[in-house]
């Protein structure tokens, strides 16, 4: 518990606010001593998935929903991944790229003429430096087919949240055989709430001006997703 104190050490205006709010709640509920709640009382009769798919159908649904949100989806296999990454960087005119520490070197092994920065805790790029980087290449924690969502949880192949935020182009690699789930109820148990998370469904967008959709107000304006149909090469 923290009771607010003014910086000079004198009692802050919110002293006692915690007790007062808790008192008001108990009074409002008419139970002076709070009972221990039983969360299982909530009815969970909704579905855990709306589709029953083969792995191929699930990947196809993910691709459709990502495309619907104007992400660019590419299919390849393990052997074709380095060439696909290289092609996307070249098509984007990428001269500088950043990768988090856990991205396998093989992913960028075919990219020529690209200056690749490795962002580590010991040697992190500043936001200003990241602003000058063209592309970020990452993996992901998982992807949700029904909603067309990629989840990043700051694991070593995804890195700090800022890496996928400041550069204008994000290339995200998904292992289609192991990282795609059907639905939100299937996704949450696989994620650790203690890790900071970024859920991405298509690139940044706004409809604030006469409801006309515009991509990329902030964050990457181009999202390239590579679905790898066999596990991506490691090392």
């Amino acid at each position: 518990m923290t009771i607010h104190q003014a910086p000079d050490g004198s009692p802050g205006p919110a002293d006692g606010a915690r007790e007062e709010i808790l008192r008001r709640i108990r009074q409002a509920l008419g139970n002076p001593a709070s009972t221990t709640p039983d969360p299982t009382a909530v009815p969970r009769t909704y579905l855990t998935t709306h589709v029953h798919h083969t792995p191929e159908q699930r990947t196809a649904l993910l691709a459709d929903n990502l495309t619907d949100y104007r992400a660019h989806v590419h299919h390849t296999d393990q052997a074709g991944l380095p060439a696909t990454v290289a092609r996307l960087l070249s098509e984007h005119g990428t001269r500088t790229a950043v990768v988090p520490p856990g991205v396998p070197a093989a992913w960028l092994s075919a990219a020529t003429g690209v200056d690749v920065h490795h962002d580590t805790d010991a040697d992190p790029l500043t936001p200003r430096q990241l602003d000058a980087v063209d592309t970020v290449v990452t993996g992901c924690a998982l992807a949700i087919a029904e909603t067309g969502t990629i989840v990043l949880d700051a694991a070593p192949d995804q890195g700090r949240r800022v890496l996928t935020l400041v550069p204008d182009h994000h290339v995200c690699v998904i292992d289609a055989s192991g990282q795609v789930v059907d639905s939100l109820p299937q996704a949450l148990p696989r994620l650790d709430p203690a890790r900071p998370q970024t859920w991405i469904s298509g690139p940044s967008a706004t409809s604030d001006i006469e409801l006309e959709r515009v991509e990329g107000v902030h964050g990457p304006r181009t999202l390239d997703v590579i679905l790898v149909t066999s596990p991506p090469p490691s090392g």
Binding site: L22, P189, Q197, I209
Partner: protein, 493 residues
């Protein structure tokens, strides 16, 4: 500037002005109908929508019934994860805490994610009085701030502005706030968005303190969740050294699993998308990633008084999706400003009088800013029975009764000099003199009438028995007239 909206005229007076604004009405009509239609499609994809809606309502009711427990659990989890929790009983306390936290950093500028809680407390103005400038970073909020204006919609706050007006606002005002607009700025939405991107990126890269709200707070884990589209939220939640989040206590949910309900219902109800482009979740602080100082300010400001009203407390389930605005025939005509608070439309009509009490002309008239057509109840993803609460609040403004004010039981006296009755009559007159609004309301209502409550429980029952809420006919009068008087003027069987 967005503010606390004090001293505003009552709803009928404000509505009389805003319905003359043809720009506003055209934009609103386009917006509400576009979103309404898309939303129906997005929800149609989920065959278990009724079950998700019931679960959402049950989770929120369960949380409210044990709110003290879950707030203490939340506080412990946030603290264990490296955050600091503060409690604010009212707007002044919240603003004081936040101003002191900013002073302690030595900074005089902050970036903000769109947050209705900070509009509710008038934070920007309070900080300005302390020599701190708060920059809004949501595109629509930026338009509103640069235009020295107020937001008019929960989801699309600058819905009352068209592209030409936005171009002029950017050209005239951006330089005074930071990076100027490009010389040759056109009114193409992509060009306007690009101007905003450049203007704001400079702020994101240099500002050390950010202020946000949150859509959800998970008690079990201490996780805060923000849903957004543009990426300005991610910028504010990730780049600064210090993050201060002001969140209403009703935004608590018990478990990580509960997110599976609301992350399905909120985006589809709100922007009619399967999922919003960006969702950020953080739990306390993480070394080497994101803000290293995190402060959570828990806001009461009338919420516990609302909780004390066993009929009205349902309003605290609201997840601010704005679906009820988009179906409301009164909102479509009157616009958000007429409601005089950050919470417009049907939810504003029940939440504002409860948070602030019904003693001002504005808050006393808000429960009458409705035709009781029931369309809002029908779309609400947490099944808030808005018509029932409107009737309940009408009873309170007309007859008085027991209420709670700042945690103390109080007796609400009927608005003096029959102010409530006058407000009611003005509102009724306004609705009846806008026949198209009434017609739409009736059309919507007859489609949903099977879902309507017949007899509101509690004290409202006695009042409605004799006064209001007639059973809704199967057809509107207009429909009946057309049906029974065909071109030949012959009544049909």
């Amino acid at each position: 500037m967005s503010g606390t909206f004090v001293g505003l005229p009552s709803f009928p007076q404000a509505a009389a002005v805003s319905t003359q604004d043809t720009q506003l009405r055209a934009n609103l009509r386009h917006a509400t109908r576009t979103i309404r239609d898309k939303r129906a499609t997005a929800i149609g994809e989920l065959s278990d929508w009724p079950q998700l809606r019931a679960a959402g309502a049950a989770i929120k009711d369960h949380t409210l019934a044990h709110l003290d427990h879950y707030l203490r659990q939340l506080e412990a989890a946030v603290t264990a994860a490296g955050g600091t929790v503060h409690w604010a009983a009212d707007a002044d306390q919240a603003n004081r805490i936040i101003a002191d936290l900013i002073h302690a950093t030595g900074e005089t500028q902050v970036v903000k994610v769109k947050s209705m809680a900070t509009q509710e407390t008038g934070l920007n103005e309070a900080l300005q009085a302390e020599g701190i400038t708060a920059y809004e970073t949501d595109l629509a909020e930026l338009i509103v701030q640069l235009g020295d204006d107020r937001p008019s919609h929960i989801l699309v706050p600058a819905i009352h502005r068209n592209r030409h007006q936005i171009r002029d606002i950017f050209t005239d005002q951006m330089a005074a706030w930071g990076r100027p607009a490009p010389e040759d700025l056109t009114d193409d939405p992509a060009a306007l968005a690009e101007a905003a991107r450049l203007h704001l990126r400079e702020k994101f890269l240099t500002t050390k303190v950010a202020i946000s709200g949150a859509n959800f707070m998970v008690a079990e884990t201490g996780t805060l969740v923000v849903l957004e589209s543009e990426g300005n939220g991610r910028m504010c939640l990730t780049l600064p050294d210090t993050l201060i989040s002001l969140v209403g206590i009703e935004k608590t949910i018990p478990t990580w699993q509960d997110l599976e309900v609301f992350l399905q219902t909120l985006p589809r109800s709100s922007t009619a998308e399967r999922m919003n482009p960006y969702t950020t979740m953080w739990t306390g602080t993480t070394s080497h990633d994101g803000p290293q100082n995190f402060h959570l300010v828990l806001l009461d400001n009338g919420r516990t008084d609302t909780l004390a009203d066993t009929t009205g407390r349902e309003a605290l389930r609201c997840i601010r999706c704005s679906a009820c605005l988009n179906v409301c025939p009164v909102y479509e005509r009157a616009g958000g400003h007429a409601y005089g608070t950050p919470y417009p439309g049907p939810i504003g009509a029940i939440l504002t009088p409860q948070l602030q009490g019904t003693s001002t002309p504005l808050t006393a008239s808000l429960p009458y800013a409705s035709t009781l057509c029931g369309a809002c109840y029908d779309v609400c993803p947490v099944a808030i029975n808005i018509p029932q609460i409107l009737v309940h609040l009408r009873e309170q403004t007309a007859q008085g009764g027991t209420t709670t004010s700042r945690g103390t039981p109080a007796t609400a006296t009927p608005a003096s000099g029959h102010a409530a009755m006058r407000a009611a009559m003005r509102a009724a007159t306004w609705t009846l003199t806008h026949p198209r609004t009434l017609h739409q309301a009736q059309s919507l209502a007859t489609k949903t009438r099977r879902l309507h409550p017949k007899n509101p429980p509690g004290p409202a029952a006695a009042w409605t028995n004799t006064r209001d809420l007639p059973p809704l006919p199967a057809h509107t009068f207009n429909h009946w007239w057309k049906h029974h008087h065909s071109t030949e003027g012959t009544p049909q069987p």
